[in-house]
């Protein structure tokens, strides 16, 4: 019982540490094609690690 509880807690913790979203990198054209196919907007995040 105790083991199962710890396992569940670890799973929860692992889920919390996962990135909040999936960000594509690589070809923008592939990302655009995906946006078109799914009827969504493509959000491009331009960022610099220093700021």
């Amino acid at each position: 019982m105790k083991k199962a509880f710890i396992f569940g807690f670890v799973l929860l913790l692992f889920a919390a540490l996962l990135p909040a979203q999936t960000w594509l990198t690589g070809s923008v054209d592939d990302a655009l094609a995906k946006a078109k196919a799914q009827g969504k907007l493509l959000l491009l995040d331009f960022f610099a690690s220093s700021g």
Partner: protein, 524 residues
């Protein structure tokens, strides 16, 4: 970084983003990321661009400020089509005289590209023409509402104040201050003009102090106006006693203490995200950089006096410890050691090791190359650094011009021509880049045929450019350097004719210089 920590990494918004958008990330400094920056002509970060499946730009958000909930509203608005670029563009076609709509669209354009504001400026001019008395609509300015015309005149004044080359002028913004003495934008106008006068060279000498005094008198509690006065005083070595008085009045300014108080007050209000925004890692990074500048300036000052040198060296080294990857501080330290006759120490802080690991960017490499080339030492490494900078930014006109400058300093003119010579102008069709090429070689009094070809080509490409008079003035300068005085005269007259009244005095001085040369030649 703050955007990532407070918004993207917050599970509260993650699901919404995932469900509603295809998410793509372009990091600066990464090969693919840099290509995406270039493709979409994006410069500053953070910047969010929203595109539909056909590649059409729907909207964008520049910058991030807490709280994240407020930022989330902006993202939701994009999804719902509230005042997006696409919607505003379509509406403005249906209602071409709606000044509030035009002001919103103009702001969108200048947000998209804050440097090239031609599209925004065209709309602001349209607003002033439609509603000269400012009665037909209001627009947001911070938390206030101002008339669209007032905002448009302010923005046009700013554009001229920050224009390139001889197009720069303080006059439109000064006229704005006169016309709108009770404006809610007044302080911003004073701030922009004070910053301009603090650092603008020569021709504004007389009016600069007059304006800066006026600004300090108007805003006596704001230390920044005093700071601008002090900067001008130091740059021009004038009004020193008054400058000292102004500096004494700035004693209370300590940004870190102010930030600390603000953060504590926000915490008391229960608004920790705002506390984080004003007292963040970025803010402290800025404090560290400011301290490094202060230490480096201290060292340079005492090196100039040849006094307190042990203390100066210690502070210089502390600056490098604080900012180890910053080429500016390493360059300052190397200059310090060269002045002290310690070349080995200069190479230790800013030698070949610096350009190896971690790999610096093009700007740092250029700083390194220019430093050593101008000191005529460590030339092989300087040349290697310049080559690396060129590889990193092969199409950047500024990098090419810097490379030419470095190789000329190294007395390698052939190499300079190879990088920034006739072959370069064949592929270049940006009038300002061509004009810059002409000015550069005219200044060197070398490669003048090609300089003329470029400067002429620039004028032919610029029928609609707001920089026309600047381009003709450049051409006149190249003709003058080439000894073609009659052609120089005609080109300068053309610059004067195209001038919109902002640089009349400057072009007249240039014209007189050319006429004097013609007279001198006739006497011979």
């Amino acid at each position: 970084m703050l955007l990532g920590q407070q918004y993207y990494d917050n599970p509260k918004y993650g699901k919404f983003l995932e469900e509603n958008f295809i998410l793509y990330r372009a990091p600066r400094g990464d090969k693919t990321g840099d290509a995406v920056f270039k493709r979409f002509n994006v410069s500053g970060t953070p910047f969010l661009l929203f595109i539909d499946g056909n590649g059409k730009e729907i909207d964008w958000i520049r910058g991030y400020s807490a709280p994240p909930d407020k930022f989330h509203e902006k993202v939701k608005n994009v999804l719902q089509g509230v005042d997006t670029f696409k919607v505003l563009s379509e509406k403005s076609l249906e209602n071409p005289k709606d000044v509030s709509l035009l002001a919103k669209l103009a702001k969108k354009y200048s947000d998209r590209d804050p440097i090239n504001t031609e599209k925004a400026n065209a709309l602001y001019k349209q607003i002033v023409a439609i509603d000269p008395d400012g009665k037909m609509g209001m627009t947001e300015y911070g938390k206030d509402q101002v008339s669209c015309t007032e905002y448009a005149e302010f923005s046009l004044g700013q554009a001229v104040l920050y224009a390139r080359g001889t197009q720069r002028s303080p006059e439109p913004l000064k006229a704005f201050i006169k016309k709108y003495p009770a404006s809610k934008i007044l302080k911003s106008a004073y701030m922009s003009l004070s910053s301009f006068y603090a650092y603008a060279p020569g021709p504004y000498k007389e009016e600069a102090f007059k304006f800066l005094e006026e600004a300090v008198a108007k805003y006596p509690d704001d230390p920044y106006f005093r700071l601008y006065y002090v900067s001008r005083s130091m740059n021009n070595k004038e009004n020193i006693d008054r400058g000292i008085e102004m500096a004494e009045g700035m004693r209370s300014m300590n940004q870190a203490s102010i930030a600390d108080y603000r953060a504590r007050l926000y915490q008391l209000k229960g608004d920790l995200s705002q506390a984080e925004a004003v007292y963040s890692q970025e803010f402290m990074d800025g404090q560290v950089t400011s301290l490094a500048y202060a230490l480096s300036s201290y060292a340079s000052f005492w090196m100039g006096q040849k006094k307190n040198l042990d203390s100066a060296e210690k502070m210089m080294q502390t600056a490098i410890l604080l900012e180890p990857d910053n080429a500016y501080f390493r360059q300052s330290a190397a200059g310090f050691y060269l002045q002290a006759g310690k070349t080995d120490k200069a190479l230790e802080v800013f030698g070949p090791e610096f350009i190896k690991t971690p790999k610096p960017n093009a700007s740092a490499l250029m700083t390194y190359a220019r430093f050593w080339a101008s000191n005529k030492q460590n030339m092989e490494s300087a040349a290697a650094a310049m080559e690396s900078a060129l590889k990193l930014s092969p199409e950047d006109a500024y990098v090419r011009q810097s490379a030419a400058q470095v190789f000329i300093m190294m007395e390698k003119q052939d190499k300079a021509i190879e990088i920034y010579g006739p072959a370069y102008i064949k592929i270049q069709d940006n009038p300002l880049a061509l004009s810059g090429y002409g000015r550069f070689w005219a200044g060197q009094k070398k490669n003048l045929d090609s300089a003329l070809e470029a400067a002429k080509k620039a004028t032919t490409l610029a029928d609609q450019s707001p920089n026309q008079s600047y381009l003709w003035d450049s051409l006149a300068g190249v003709y003058l350097a080439a000894g073609k005085l009659e052609e120089a005269l005609k080109a300068e007259e053309k610059a004067l004719a195209l001038d919109e009244g902002f640089n009349t005095e400057f072009y007249q001085t240039q014209l007189k210089k050319i006429k004097d040369e013609i007279e001198k030649k006739a006497k011979k």
